[in-house]
């Protein structure tokens, strides 16, 4: 499997701003609140915008810190502008999810973050056979991110998930250890 690892390196078109991934901490709370309070950002998320820093701290403590694999997406100044995570679905499947502050949309940042994760995650988790993503049918921007990285669009799963009280069609994407990054 590692013979192909050099072809999986996160190269190709870089975003206009360089990003890196690092663990998220409580000291990121102010930057977290920037995207977590933004209704444009939460539109396709299962959660509503945060309204208090206390709730944000609660989220970081109860969800972020114990998460098996979650990283802050940072610019050069090491400040978080979003986060990306891989959550185990079962013993062989992981689900990728990401959120970026809307000020940073359209710059290829999410694409670069997803590419970095797809390039590394199978080395970190050799038992993983499938990295998948579920995207709302209307969330074209996020679908484009995955397509640009090289995820395979497997199909539309109709009435797949409840999002804020509505049952939504979701597009299923996957990336396998044997797939090539674009």
């Amino acid at each position: 499997m590692d013979i192909d690892s050099c072809t999986r390196k996160a190269v190709s078109s870089s975003p206009s701003e360089k990003i890196h991934l690092r663990p998220m901490t409580l000291s990121d709370i102010d930057d977290f609140m920037v995207w977590a309070t933004d209704i444009n950002v939460t539109r396709f998320c299962t959660w509503e915008p945060y309204t208090s820093q206390e709730a944000g701290i609660g989220y970081i403590n109860s969800f972020v810190l114990p998460h098996p694999w979650l990283r802050a997406i940072c610019l050069d100044d090491d400040r978080a502008i979003g986060s990306i995570s891989v959550t185990p679905v079962d013993s062989i499947r992981g689900e990728i999810g990401y959120v970026i502050g809307s000020k940073y949309w359209g710059k290829g940042i999410a694409t670069e973050a997803v590419r970095l994760v797809a390039a590394e995650i199978f080395k970190e988790k050799p038992e993983m056979e499938r990295l998948e993503a579920l995207v709302d049918v209307d969330n074209i921007g996020s679908q484009k991110v995955l397509e640009k990285v090289g995820f395979v669009r497997e199909g539309v799963m109709r009435k797949f998930m409840c999002l804020k009280g509505n049952v939504r069609d979701m597009v299923m994407f996957s990336f396998l250890p044997s797939d090539s990054l674009l």
């Binding site: 499938r130 199909g155 299923m172």
Partner: protein
């Protein structure tokens, strides 16, 4: 989440034209008919279970897994003897998954198609909260894919490396049927 297994005897569902197949709960007295398909390696090929090897094992499996199942029905011919079974499993609040198994002698006659059609037609009335009935079929299990297509399920796509089946990672075809979908 699970169906109330203390419900009064579920009604027997009869197919049309009448006399082809009917669905009813399974009982321990079905053990010998159960063994016909459960011991068959061809039948077990795309199932998560290995072929059954003894009557004791069959009795234990029926007792522990079949009789306790939230929604499982024997598929019976006119003589009321089971030739397989069909079941509905909860996935979450809005999704259920359908599964079925048939003795090999009865393959290729449309019985599974009929059973799936019957259950699909009834299940949304029985479970009005269900928004989606889905089925996952091994890419190589073409026969079972045809069953779902003939009923009118939508083939949504191939999920690559989706599950481990008997130690191998398999691609699975995802199908779905919604309350609003038409039957074929």
């Amino acid at each position: 989440m699970e169906m109330d297994s203390n419900e009064t005897q579920p009604t027997v569902v009869v197919s049309s034209p009448p006399g082809r197949i009917s669905l009813r709960p399974m009982t321990l007295s079905d053990v010998d008919d159960y063994m016909v398909w459960a011991t068959d390696a061809e039948v077990a090929r795309f199932c998560s279970w290995e072929p059954c090897t003894s009557r004791e094992e069959a009795i234990k499996y029926i007792t522990d897994s079949v009789l306790t199942h939230p929604w499982l029905r024997a598929i019976c011919l006119e003589d009321d003897r089971p030739i397989g079974y069909i079941l509905i499993m909860p996935v979450d609040n809005i999704r259920k998954e359908i599964g079925y198994v048939l003795a090999r002698k009865y393959w290729g006659k449309g019985f599974a198609t009929e059973a799936v059609r019957l259950v699909t037609a009834e299940i949304f009335k029985e479970m009005p909260e269900i928004e989606r009935l889905e089925a996952l079929v091994d890419v190589d299990n073409v026969g079972s894919q045809r069953v779902l297509e003939k009923v009118g399920f939508t083939r949504e796509g191939v999920m690559r490396n989706y599950i481990i089946m008997k130690g191998s990672v398999r691609d699975m075809v995802m199908f779905s049927f919604l309350p609003s979908d038409p039957f074929k």
